[in-house]
Structure formats: structure tokens, C-alpha cells
């Protein structure tokens, strides 16, 4: 990532340059070892593209995204997900997609092959506030307070009910599906429902002595909402209360994480894909704090959600969005 040559841009909160600026300021204080460790600038999305399909060809799609118009080829190995695994021919102009890709030819990096395409994928995580049959209104912690509308697909109702036995107001819900306008058609339960009501997660264990440098748990993802679609970052469940943010529900969560601020950087490792990246904290992961679940994508992770990644960051780190999580290890600045 290139640090902006404009100092003023670097002082705009939330920008990549602002995150890099804080890293440089930290490095100006601490010793060289820390500076070298954190000299890797925050991750660049090298294998993820987001955008809207403008053209569907027999062997490729054309995408209009933040990087402009881009073309991605298919191969027989390309996996397309739109509520379920399907053929690329099911894609339609106007579909919002996120693509994991790689270069077809190192000599011609502009030619890219889509390895995995997620079309109109969405996720709703939050507290159920109203129920009517298979329809739910969910408080997902939006800034404007508006609830998310979720409809559980008929074919998935039993599966969702098994993982979420208490589909009643006050209980947590976390489902993945396809977006249809302002509604989510849920097809996959992202986790097992906690037995406690929202805001009443079990108290975490007492911690004696300094926290370990690395903490393991699970990493999940969230929809962009107000964030730029291709943003690489994460929602952190333990933002410093002194930052002035309103206290969120869920108490301290079931994994003790050190307090950080927006813009702090962490190194997050996907244990399943053996990939890691330095990512900035870009939002408040208060909802993640309410869950004490484990990820079982590759072995069983310790309890607790460490990070609520943006979609682009989740895919960039090798996660598959329909899985909902990956086993993760987070390393903090020393």
C-alpha cells in the first residue's frame, strides 16, 4: 500500500494512510524490533475483487468495481456460490459479487482467473426483535438503528431450527444467505445458537499476569453496511471504552482481549489456510463479543470471536464466506 503523499489525507481518520500514520508514530517510539515486525504495511487486496456484474460471457464476467472495469475468466474449477454452489451461468447482470482470483499469467497480471465467486451473499448477526413464522426482524447494531429483515428459506428451515432452537425475541441469530433487496434469504446457520439471551454472555475467566502475545479463537465476517465494499479491516470486540463509543451489550465477552482503538493494527492468521495479514481495526466488533462459539473448519478453535472481518479481508485471508468462520490466531503489537 502506498502511503499518500498528502499529509492531509494521512490525517483523515479511517483512511489507509491514517492507519499507516499511527503505525509510524508507534514505530517512532518503540525499538527497531517492533518497527521491523510492524513494517509490513496493512494488507493489500491482491486476490479479492468486489463489484457489480455488468456483463456475463460464456467464459468470463465483467465487473464494475472500485478498481474500474475488470474481466475475470472462468475455469471448470471455478466455484460459484449463490445460496448454494451453482454454475457461473446462473450469474446475472447487476449481481453484487465478491471474487477470489489469481493471475492467469505472471507476465500478464491483468488476466485474472476467478477461483471462487460469491454472488449476493449476505449475513445477518444480531438479536431477534420480532418473529413471524420464518420471518425475523433482527437488531444487527446498525448505526441508524434500523433492523434487518431475514426470511429463512423453506428448504433450510429445519437446518436453521436445529442450530437455533430458540427463535424468539431476545435471542441471538447468525445466518448466511443471499440478499434480495433489503431482505436476506437465510440458507445457512453460521453457528450454533448460544443458550443465553443476547447481552448475557457468560463472564470470562479471570486472567492473571500479562496476556499472551498471541490469542487464538475464531474469526467471522460481516457485510459492508456503511464501509467501502473492498475495505480490508476488522471489527474488534474490545475497543477502548475511553474512546467515547457508547457501551455495547454483551459485557466483556468470553475471551479476554486487550483494549485497542480504531486504527490499531493486528496480525491475523488463518490457521486453516495458513495465511496471515496485518489488518487495521476499522469498526466496533461489539456483536462478536456476544458469541462464545468455536470454529471447526480445521480442528476446534478455542471459544470466542477475536475478529469480525470485512468480507474482503475474510476472503483475502483464504476464508470461504459460506463457511462463516475460520480458526484464527491474533498477534498484537508488543
Amino acid at each position: 500500500m502506498d502511503i499518500s503523499t498528502s499529509y492531509h489525507h494521512a490525517t483523515q481518520t479511517g483512511s489507509s494512510a491514517w492507519h499507516a500514520r499511527r503505525a509510524l508514530l508507534r514505530a517512532a517510539v518503540f525499538e527497531t524490533r517492533d518497527r521491523e515486525f510492524w513494517s509490513h504495511r496493512p494488507a493489500v487486496a491482491r486476490s479479492v475483487a468486489t463489484g457489480i456484474i455488468t456483463e456475463v460471457r460464456e467464459d468470463a464476467i465483467v465487473l464494475d468495481g472500485p478498481g474500474g472495469i475488470e474481466l475475470f475468466s472462468f475455469s471448470p474449477a471455478t466455484v460459484t456460490w449463490m445460496g448454494a454452489v451453482t454454475a457461473p451461468s446462473a450469474l446475472r447482470v447487476g449481481d453484487q459479487v465478491i471474487i477470489r482470483h489469481r493471475s492467469l499469467d505472471t507476465a500478464a497480471p491483468a488476466r485474472r482467473l476467478a477461483e471462487r465467486i460469491w454472488a449476493r451473499i449476505g449475513r445477518v448477526t444480531g438479536t431477534i426483535i420480532a418473529v413471524q413464522g420464518r420471518e425475523f426482524l433482527v437488531d444487527a447494531g446498525r448505526a441508524d438503528g434500523s433492523p434487518r429483515h431475514v426470511v429463512v428459506a423453506a428448504a433450510s428451515a429445519r437446518q436453521v431450527q436445529v442450530r437455533f432452537p430458540r427463535l424468539a425475541p431476545g435471542y441471538l441469530l447468525d445466518v448466511i444467505g443471499t440478499r434480495r433487496g433489503r431482505q436476506l434469504l437465510a440458507v445457512i446457520p453460521a453457528t450454533a445458537q448460544p443458550p443465553y439471551r443476547a447481552g448475557h454472555a457468560p463472564p470470562p475467566p479471570m486472567v492473571n499476569g500479562p496476556l499472551p502475545a498471541s490469542i487464538s479463537g475464531t474469526a467471522v465476517w460481516h457485510e459492508p453496511e456503511d464501509e467501502p465494499p473492498g475495505l480490508l479491516g476488522l471489527g474488534y470486540p474490545a475497543l477502548d471504552p475511553a474512546d467515547g463509543k457508547p457501551p455495547a451489550d454483551g459485557g466483556m465477552g468470553c475471551v479476554r482481549l486487550p483494549y485497542l482503538s480504531l486504527g490499531s493494527t493486528v496480525r491475523l492468521r488463518n490457521e486453516c489456510a495458513d495465511r496471515s495479514a496485518v489488518l487495521p481495526v476499522t469498526s466496533n466488533g461489539a456483536l462478536a463479543r456476544q458469541f462464545c462459539d468455536r470454529c471447526v473448519e480445521c480442528g476446534t478453535s478455542p471459544k470466542g470471536r477475536l475478529a469480525d472481518l470485512t468480507m474482503a479481508a475474510f476472503v483475502e485471508l483464504g476464508g470461504n464466506l459460506e463457511d462463516g468462520c475460520f480458526n484464527a490466531t491474533m498477534t498484537l503489537a508488543g
Binding site: 508514530l25 517512532a28 517510539v29 457468560p202 479476554r256 482503538s261 490499531s264 498484537l332
Partner: protein, 290 residues
């Protein structure tokens, strides 16, 4: 002597029942989730746990208060006998319930004293409940509780009470939990530290006194936290260059170390900017490192 022992039971039982009720109420006000029931209520269906916990808490408080109210001159009358008999029934039920809980939910604590009672039920908790059951039985026949008639009697009363409390403490896993909590200190990464306290510590530090003269303003341009450190940034001028002076304040104690660094923003005082050069060597000596 035997009457003295019986009289002591009334006070002890009342103390234990009221403190247990208070501890449960404290826990309920903090968490309040039936999904996290401890003790015998964990064996109830989820939808009944809140009601069961409330009923148990109310019963304990009512019996404890009843024991106190009927301890005196009313001690020989019907109400006192009824309250003491109900206490006996409660503790007998507790013995059975704890035994069942140990079999069905071996991971559950007894919940006797709220948050302190998360240790899985063991023979200690069951024995304690059985002893309290015996104490309640002895209290049924106790005469009205009166002030000791002599110093010797007072000492005997205290000795009996102390011995019984010591025995209960030996049988109570809550005592160990309480000692752990009293001796526990949160790591600094997890402590909530107000920004004002950080700024106060910064302004009383040697690095602040040394670098204050180079700052353009004492209003921070940026503040953020990373674990045990809080970073505070001020715009400054150094050797005719615009800089940012960043102080890192350690949050573990009120007078923790303060470190400082200087970042050259790459702008001359005349406003011309030659690109962001990143951090530059600080011509001044850095503050003491941790």
C-alpha cells in the same frame, strides 16, 4: 451449654441465608440469564429457571429474616418453630438437590453464594448442606435467644460461633474463590483507564517537561490505545520542521513510564512539503525505555 449451642445456630443460619440470598440477587442483577443458572436451578427447563431462581432467593431471604424476627422472645412460640422447621426442610432439600446436581450436571456449581459458587459440586458442598440441616434441626428446639448473662457465657458463645464458622469455611469452596478475587489484579491490557488520567500522568512526566517547548499546542491531535500503552500525539516544530511528537504512556500504574518519539511530517515551516519522509532520528535524547 447445649442451649447455648442451639441458640448460636439461629444466628448463624440467619446470617448464611441472608448472605446467600444477597449474593444470588447480586448475580441476578449482573447477568440475569437463565441460560447461566448455577446450582439446582440448572436442572430446571430454561423457561422455568428464572422463576425457580427468584423463588429460591426469596425463600432464603424470607427464612433468614424470619429467623431473626423470631429469635427473641417469640422464640418459644409457634411462628419461630414454623420458620425453623421450614429452614430444616430447606436444607434437607438442598442436600438432595446438590446430590442430584452432582450426578446430572457435574460441571455446575452449587450457586449457593452467587458468582463465588461456580466450583463444581463436591462432597464438601454436600457435607456443608448436611451440617446446616443438622444445625436447623437443633435450632427448632432452641429457647429464645438472649444476650449473654456473663462475660464467660459471651466468650463461650463466640467460641462456638467461631468454631462453627471455621468448620463451614473449611467446607466452602467459596472462601478460596473469594481469596483469589481479593488477590487478583487485572492485567493492564484489560483495565479501563480514563483518558484524563493518562493526560495527567503525561503532564507530570519528565518527557513532557523536556518536549513541551517544541509543541505547537497542548491539545492532542490524536489519542489511541494499544493494550498497556496509550499514545498521545501533538503537533510540534523542531529544527524549523513540522513534526508530530508522540508520547506513549504506560497504563499499568499512575506513574508508569512515558516514552516519546518524533515523526517528521516532511513539511517546512513555510508550508512547503517534500513528501512524507516517515520517522527521522530524534536529535534529542529519548526518554527512559521500559
Amino acid at each position: 451449654m447445649l442451649n447455648l449451642v442451639d441458640e448460636v445456630q439461629v444466628g448463624l443460619l440467619a446470617l448464611l441465608l441472608i448472605s446467600g440470598s444477597a449474593a444470588k440477587l447480586w448475580r441476578a442483577s449482573g447477568a440475569g440469564s437463565p441460560g447461566h443458572a448455577t446450582g439446582p436451578t440448572a436442572m430446571f427447563p430454561v423457561r422455568l429457571r428464572r422463576s425457580a431462581a427468584t423463588a429460591l432467593c426469596a425463600t432464603e431471604f424470607a427464612l433468614g429474616a424470619g429467623l431473626l424476627l423470631t429469635a427473641g422472645s417469640a422464640g418459644a412460640r409457634g411462628p419461630a418453630v414454623v420458620v425453623r422447621a421450614a429452614t430444616f426442610v430447606l436444607f434437607c432439600t438442598a442436600v438432595g438437590a446438590l446430590h442430584e446436581l452432582r450426578g446430572h450436571r457435574p460441571d455446575a456449581g452449587c450457586g449457593c453464594f452467587g458468582e463465588l459458587s461456580r466450583t463444581p459440586v463436591s462432597w464438601r458442598a454436600i457435607t456443608r448442606a448436611a451440617l446446616l440441616c443438622v444445625a436447623a434441626l437443633a435450632a427448632i428446639g432452641a429457647p429464645p435467644v438472649r444476650m449473654p448473662r456473663s462475660a464467660g457465657q459471651a466468650w463461650v458463645t463466640l467460641a462456638v460461633a467461631a468454631a462453627e464458622l471455621a468448620l463451614l469455611a473449611v467446607l466452602s469452596p467459596e472462601v478460596g474463590q473469594l481469596m483469589i478475587r481479593l488477590g487478583h489484579a487485572e492485567p493492564c491490557e484489560l483495565r479501563e483507564v480514563p483518558v484524563d488520567r493518562t493526560l495527567s500522568a503525561l503532564r507530570s512526566s519528565a518527557p513532557w517537561r523536556r518536549y513541551r517547548q517544541f509543541l505547537v499546542t497542548t491539545v492532542p491531535a490524536d489519542i489511541w490505545r494499544e493494550g498497556c500503552w496509550r499514545f498521545v500525539v501533538f503537533p510540534g516544530v523542531l529544527a524549523s520542521r513540522q513534526v508530530e511528537v508522540v508520547f506513549a504512556v504506560y497504563l499499568a500504574s499512575r506513574h508508569g513510564p512515558v516514552r516519546v518519539g518524533v515523526l517528521d511530517t516532511g513539511a517546512d515551516l513555510d508550508g512547503s512539503w517534500s513528501g512524507w519522509s516517515g520517522s527521522s532520528p530524534d536529535p534529542l535524547e529519548l526518554s527512559t525505555h521500559v
